[in-house]
Amino acid sequence: MIVAEDVITVRGLTMAFGERVVIRDLDLAIRRGEVYVVMGGSGCGKSTLLRHMLGLQEPAAGEVLYGQESFTRASPSGRERFLRRVGVLYQGSALWTSMTLAENVALPLQQFTRLSPRRIREVVELKLSLVGLRGFEEYYPWELSGGMQKRAGLARAIALDPEILFIDEPSASLDPPTGRHLDRLILQLRDALGTTVVVVTHDVASILGIGSRALFLDGESQRAIAEGPPAELRDRGPPAVRAFFGAGAR
């Protein structure tokens, strides 16, 4: 039997803002190639967990490991090395508004590879083609719709062929068809690129549509109370999780 390798492990993580603990003693392992969903109600610590995995916030206790190595205890240069394997699609896309879409996607390639300008242009065209934005290279983010901005953010996130793709609220502020289109795109890219995807969302349709496994964070008890395939959690999970899916489906 082939056991999938864990690409990210979280051990005994306690997340807090000063004295206020958000989640305590969190353990999880994300396997290579899966779409791992972190879900829960507003303010339960989903995005905070993402920030801890990316080193944007320091844990109150515990650690995050990339493969077998500790990301939390790594030196700044070590962290940079880990982060080179990662792409992030932010909730608000976070595209640089003073740059065109082509410049947004090209920036990581210019900074972290030695590709020629011509080759960078070709890669940029390819990445924008993958998200259906070929032809919009010279457009500025603010000239595009929210869905297009999200797709452009995705093109930038996959610019360096990341091993792990973090996505914060993919369907936030998108209409349902656009949200489902983005979900399909994420799955297609995962299948084609073999990328591990970590998604933070409270969108039930999205969770059931793309998640291989899901983790439910409960803000009230400050703990993760369930983990497993989303459909299983919806049908046989703890009452709070079933209520979450039920409320989301209505």
Partner: protein, 381 residues
Amino acid sequence: MVREGAAAAAPAALEMDRAEDESLVLRLSGAWRLGEIAPEPRDVERELEFRPAPRVSLDTRGVTSWDTGLVVYLSRVLESCRGRAIAVDRAGLPRDVQRLLDLIQEPVLPPARGTLPAEFLERVGTRALGARDRFRDVTVFVGETALALGRMATGRARYRGVDLGLLLQQSGAEALPIVALVNFLVGIILAFVGITQLRRFGAEYYVADIVGIAVVRDMAALITGVVLAGRSGGAFAAQIATMKVAQEVDALRTLGISPVEFLVAPRVIALTVMMPFLTLFADLMGVLGGAAVGTTMMRQAFAAYMRQTSMAVTTGDIVGGIVKGATYGALVALAGTLRGMGAERSSEQVGEAATQAVVSGIVAIIAACGVYQYVFFLFGW
């Protein structure tokens, strides 16, 4: 995205063969990775130009590892074949590569942009129209601000009193230290220049007159205006431009609140009201700067220096300086808010708006100073 095979070290290579039916077979081998030397799609294009083929087949069994580099290469070859209406057999490609190529969509053709270089006359015309539009925008903005100020005066404007209070504090009381320092130094400079010149005629005791008149009539208001252009004008532009980027201005509009009433008018009032006070304060600091030089260099008594100043400076000079100060305050606030409101929805525009606000604020102040000089001269004030 790096797929490893057995022998990852072999470099990327391409062999082109012909089948019996003249179709072109591309055999790819080695490591196809970005940033490493790899064959160019041009080689295939040249081959197809030199010897057309009814079909192109791809064989990647020899590829040991690949990433985006291979996909970029293949997408170019496919595009080239599509342009020549040549069928491509992709069966020999790894499944993941096929999936990626399937994801690549035909380019969407957005509305064309003017990329052709414009003719000279066209450029002149475009600029002239742009200047006309800018002039119209400024006029409309000034008009809207005047109307908003009128509504404020009659209590019909929508704005928050607490915001106005805060703006008065920020642009008035909080500006005192920098206004004091700069004007004190300007007083010292004027006194040094004055003494140096007047000494040639043995009239250095009149330095108090020169410093007093120069400071009170013009320099205090002018220098304070320039300081506020940098300090408050730039801040106003950056604040409003940031609000535009974050769609806060749109939120005001959709609530039915005029951004000019809510954001612009309070700022114009704050600077126009505070500038006369700051100018008076600057007058005092400038005269004190002059006195510092006068009393130390000429050993003149402080009381005598101040008496000389009070004899030279008239009430008209002081009132004139205050009126100029109020005008400069209004101009700086208008320049700052105009640039802020004119910013587009990008973060770069925030910095640009702040820079433009400072530059246009200073230019407006100096232009207004020139106009005042001429008018005062005409009327013999």
